[in-house]
């Protein structure tokens, strides 16, 4: 393993790390990415096995504390009703994500101007639009143009099938006169760039054996590696080191054998998500940076935003074949996305219609609600529910609040002895009202669609997929960590490209926007190579 200095060192091979590596590769600089996890083998994904649902309980669990692979780090969620879920490996969260791929709306970048809350972003939708489009092409996104909820856009592939679930719920939305649209999905509906199309396996959220789900291990990374980027797996970064001038000069990491290594670099790019990035920055304390690196604003680790998620589930008389097709991608509704203060809250939420569970999931949900009893009547109750369910996820915009934090746990450490992150989070009154509103509207929609029995609840606990805001962007170094193109205000050769730089969260799945931002930052770096550190 070479320890020669590199030009650019990227920490993390997930959604944003892959995009920035691919984009920077054409500079012919020496680029190295350190990833704490492994490559995944799609032949090992649960959907290749008879016990595909049960495998999600442990090895493919979305919760790193349950999965507990040696490539995972523990997370202290004791002070949060929402727990962090993730995946550590090449592809990062895109390995287990649902691939629901909406973009933030233009209004999401202007919340202060439009609604008087939080802050505007230092970039806007129009600036990012070319990068959204580029990312859609690189990842392989399926969708339908013409959605009135967005400015014009053209997904490169036809939308994924609505199926009986989509059609049934869409009819309910039509009865109410509400907006709905086939979801933009990072799942290829047609053969694309050497990958074969979606087979409608179902369990996207435990990895896609077909390779139709656009995770970055099969989209950006093969191209980036062919272009000369080096990717080292099982290399866990402990801290970023600095020179006497306060510039980053590399990282200390643990190699696959657990040996401490120092990798020198001219530029460090962090792509570790909204929990991993503040964790490393806060652990990179030095005499020059006693409060952690890039933290003169005191905002590293603050303003953590999740998307509080509620679920509304409807039971239908007719069979919906709901276990077939992409689990989390079907249709969506933006009817309540934009601010309307008459609803009692500011900002809004996305309604994500998803398909039903497989047989194990159906049985266990029924066990939990008491709807599928043991003993006599078991089979009848199961038969009424399996493949007869449609769900609506309510994904609420969380506004930034400084008391919602990622800090270093004083005791808990990972297998290399690095302090674990500790989450402290409370849901705001605004988010609570929004969630209540969304649950009620979800019930209304499913009732209109013909559901005979509806259950609703939230916020869901293990739903902290979207980790945002903990190293926010901004023009003013006093109230932001990085500038409008991801460069640290304090350390001019340190960049952050993951969800931590979000100023606000929007009310929808952020991966599309995270990657568009990463491409935008990489492009801006390339345009400013001559004076990158000025």
């Amino acid at each position: 393993m070479s320890d020669e200095p590199v030009d650019v060192l990227i920490i993390g091979a997930g959604a944003s790390g892959a995009a920035v590596a691919w984009s920077l590769a054409d500079t012919r600089m020496r680029i190295l990415c350190l990833e704490q996890g492994d490559w995944v083998n799609s032949a090992e994904f649960p959907s290749t096995k008879q016990d595909w649902e049960v495998q999600q309980f442990k090895d493919f669990n979305i919760d790193p504390n349950v999965r507990a692979h040696d490539t995972d780090y523990p997370i202290n969620n004791d002070n949060s009703p929402i727990t962090v879920v993730n995946f550590n490996g090449v592809g990062g969260g895109t390995i287990l994500y649902a691939a629901h791929f909406p973009r933030l709306h233009p209004s999401d970048f202007k919340v202060k101007s439009l609604d008087g809350v939080a802050d505007d972003w230092p970039v806007d939708y129009d600036q990012l639009e070319p990068y959204f489009a580029l990312n859609d092409r690189k990842m392989g996104v399926s969708g339908l143009s013409g959605d009135p909820a967005y400015p014009p856009k053209q997904p490169p592939l036809p939308h994924i099938p609505l199926g009986l679930v989509g059609e049934t719920v869409a009819k309910g939305y039509n009865k109410l006169g509400w907006h709905w649209w086939p979801s933009d999905s990072a799942i290829i509906s047609q053969p694309y760039e050497g990958r074969d199309k979606c087979l409608n396996l179902g369990p996207c959220m435990s990895g896609c054996s077909q390779g139709a789900k656009s995770s970055t291990d099969i989209t950006y990374w093969p191209e980036a590696i062919r272009a000369g980027v080096e990717l080292r797996t099982r290399c866990r970064v402990r801290e970023i080191t600095v020179d006497d001038n306060g510039m980053a000069n590399g990282v200390i990491y643990y190699d696959p054998e657990g040996n401490e290594q120092h990798q020198k670099a001219e530029v460090v790019v962090m792509a570790c998500n909204g929990v991993g990035t503040p964790r490393i920055l806060l652990n990179s304390r030095s005499e020059q940076f006693p409060d952690g690196l890039a933290n003169s604003s005191g905002l590293v680790g603050k303003n953590l935003m999740f998307h509080p998620v509620g679920f509304v589930q409807g039971l239908f008389d007719e069979r919906l074949d709901s276990h077939k097709g992409p689990q989390g991608c079907c249709i969506l509704s933006k009817e309540f996305y934009e601010t309307d203060l008459s609803r009692g809250f500011v900002r809004g939420y996305n309604m994500q219609i998803s398909r039903g569970a497989g047989p194990v999931g159906t049985a266990l949900q029924g066990l939990g609600t008491g709807n599928i009893p043991w003993g006599p009547g078991h089979h009848e109750a199961f038969e009424q529910r399996f493949d007869h369910v449609a769900s609506i996820g309510i994904l609420c915009e969380d506004l930034p609040e400084e008391h919602n934090t990622v800090t270093l746990d004083p005791e808990l450490v990972d297998s290399d002895g690095i302090p674990a992150p500790k989450i402290s989070y409370t849901m705001s009154e605004n988010s609570r009202k929004m969630l209540e509103h969304g649950l009620a509207r979800g019930e209304e929609a499913l009732k209109a669609a013909g559901a005979k029995e509806i259950v609703a609840g939230g916020p869901l606990g293990p739903a902290g997929w979207h980790l945002l805001g903990t190293a926010r962007m901004g023009d003013d170094p006093k109230n932001s960590v990085v500038n409008s193109w991801g460069r640290s205000h304090d350390v001019k050769n340190l960049f952050i490209v993951d969800g931590s730089i979000f100023v606000t969260a929007g009310g929808l799945n952020p991966t599309s926007t995270i990657q568009a931002l990463a491409l935008y930052i990489a492009d801006t770096m390339k345009k400013n190579l001559a004076n990158l550190f000025d």
């Binding site: 994904f45 649902e53 939708y125 396996l201 077909q210 074949d321 077939k324 047989p359 194990v360």
Partner: protein
């Protein structure tokens, strides 16, 4: 009780008597369907499932089974039901876990999958057919003016 009945084999941590009691318990939790299409939970391999996915739970299961009266296996299902119902209240936590694992084990079984209308085998590479859907349903949405806020 014969020595053979008390023997614990390498593959199965339950002796023969315990195995019979477990089968009688599982047969109450999920009985076969009246039309014979769906098997009883006693016919799926809970032990292998637990050894693979939840070995930590095995001691609690063995103890629960051991605590059942020897006569339990000789009773009709309808006679066993009230005994299991009592178990569900006196040992609620353990019984809840038993139900969790029995349901999970049962509904991953290929015979059960076929009986509930699924195709045999894991989802990949077989896949599923899902209809594209009727896009004319979008007509009223397409007639709407744009609804995003200009900035």
């Amino acid at each position: 009780m014969s020595n053979e009945e008390n023997m614990i084999t390498t593959d199965n941590p339950l002796n023969k008597v315990q195995q019979k009691k477990l089968a009688s318990l599982l047969d109450v939790i999920i009985p076969p369907s009246n039309d014979g299409r769906l098997p009883s939970a006693a016919e799926v391999d809970l032990i292998t499932y637990l050894q693979t996915h939840a070995a930590d739970f095995m001691p609690a299961l063995v103890q629960t089974v051991e605590d059942l009266d020897d006569q339990f296996t000789t009773l009709e299902r309808s006679e066993r039901y009230p005994i299991v119902e009592e178990l569900s209240t006196t040992s609620a936590a353990v019984f809840g876990m038993i139900l969790f694992h029995v349901y999970a084990c049962y509904y991953q079984d290929d015979r059960v999958h076929q009986a509930i209308g699924m195709e045999s085998g894991p989802p990949f590479p077989r896949g599923n057919t899902v209809e594209t859907g009727d896009l004319s349903l979008l007509d009223p949405v397409m007639e709407r003016p744009s609804m995003y806020r200009r900035t």
